[in-house]
């Protein structure tokens, strides 16, 4: 299970509240993060955000173990950004990093289930969304009484 978001250390827009919210999510799911649920924050500015900068950012916000802040080659990051869906249809908005997508990509890779959640939703709701994909991805497809009515 992975929870992925894109950020950069000097973002003046959504990143401070997004990261603070994710810290709350990590506290709610404290017994799962780092065990079967892993959080990844990927920088949109690899030229600025060295591993040292990212470590300082993570420490400043209080991010705990099981949550990695990642950088890499710009081309690799752009490939990930596009393939994970953190893009805008409008090319001007897509090119402007200050309006970057503030959603979370939630993935249960073995079950091939990928979901998303707004990063500024309440932390309790984000945790519920994550746990639904982690623990009960098929729950709610049919209620038990419907199964009885179908004669199953």
């Amino acid at each position: 299970m992975v929870v992925i978001n894109f950020m950069y250390a000097h973002c003046q827009g959504i990143c401070p509240t997004m990261t603070a919210n994710l810290v709350r999510v990590q506290k709610i799911l404290h017994d799962r993060i780092g065990h079967d649920i892993f959080m990844y924050s990927i920088t949109l500015k690899p030229e600025e955000d060295t591993p040292q900068v990212l470590k300082e950012y993570a420490d400043m916000h209080g991010a705990g173990p099981g949550w990695l802040f990642l950088t890499g080659k710009p081309a690799d990051i752009e490939l990930l950004r596009r393939s994970l869906g953190f893009t805008s249809i409008d090319p001007d908005e897509d090119a402007d990093k200050s309006t970057h997508i503030g959603m979370l990509r939630i993935g249960n890779e073995p079950m091939l289930r990928w979901s998303a959640c707004p990063s500024q939703a309440r932390a309790e709701w984000i945790a519920t969304s994550i746990l639904t994909e982690a623990d009960n991805p098929l729950k709610g497809a049919l209620k038990e009484d419907s199964m009885v009515a179908l004669g199953k």
Binding site: S88, I101, M103, P118
Partner: protein
């Protein structure tokens, strides 16, 4: 029956998140297990709602549950003939502003207002509003 209160709703897209008046939908229950109701209308009163599309290049059919409404103006002028009726979906084209009039009558309870583009709906472009004996007068809930 004059409107008791006028409320304005700005439908926005912030960093890919659909928001109404700068807030995401409150999907989870509050700590005391109740639902999050953004505002409350008073029974047997009417209200004027202004819906503004500020989402930058997206159109939204806004569906309001429970009570039908009349369209007063569309972008400052009288609406076209096809909107001279009781409606429950208000089409917001690019950057449009629409004023609605509605009465709140029979039932006390909570209902959603949401974009009926089901992809936006699934990504929580909605809020919950209520009808009770006493309502608030928040103009920007």
């Amino acid at each position: 029956m004059l409107p008791r209160v006028t409320r304005t709703f700005e439908f926005e897209r912030k960093n890919g998140q659909w928001q109404i008046n700068g807030q995401n939908a409150e999907c989870s229950l509050t700590p005391d297990n109740s639902v999050n109701v953004r505002f409350t209308c008073q029974r047997n009163t009417s209200e004027r709602w202004i819906l503004r599309n500020r989402s930058g290049g997206w159109q939204h059919p806004i569906h309001i549950h429970m009570e039908e409404f009349r369209v007063l103006t569309r972008n400052g002028v009288a609406p076209p003939m096809v909107e001279h009726s009781r409606k429950d979906v208000c089409r917001l084209g690019f950057n449009e502003d629409v004023e609605l009039f509605s009465r709140f009558r029979d039932f006390r309870g909570d209902w959603p207002m949401h974009c009926h583009n089901t992809v936006h709906e699934d990504h929580a472009m909605m809020l919950l509003w209520g009808v009770q004996d006493h309502g608030d007068t928040n103009p920007n809930p």
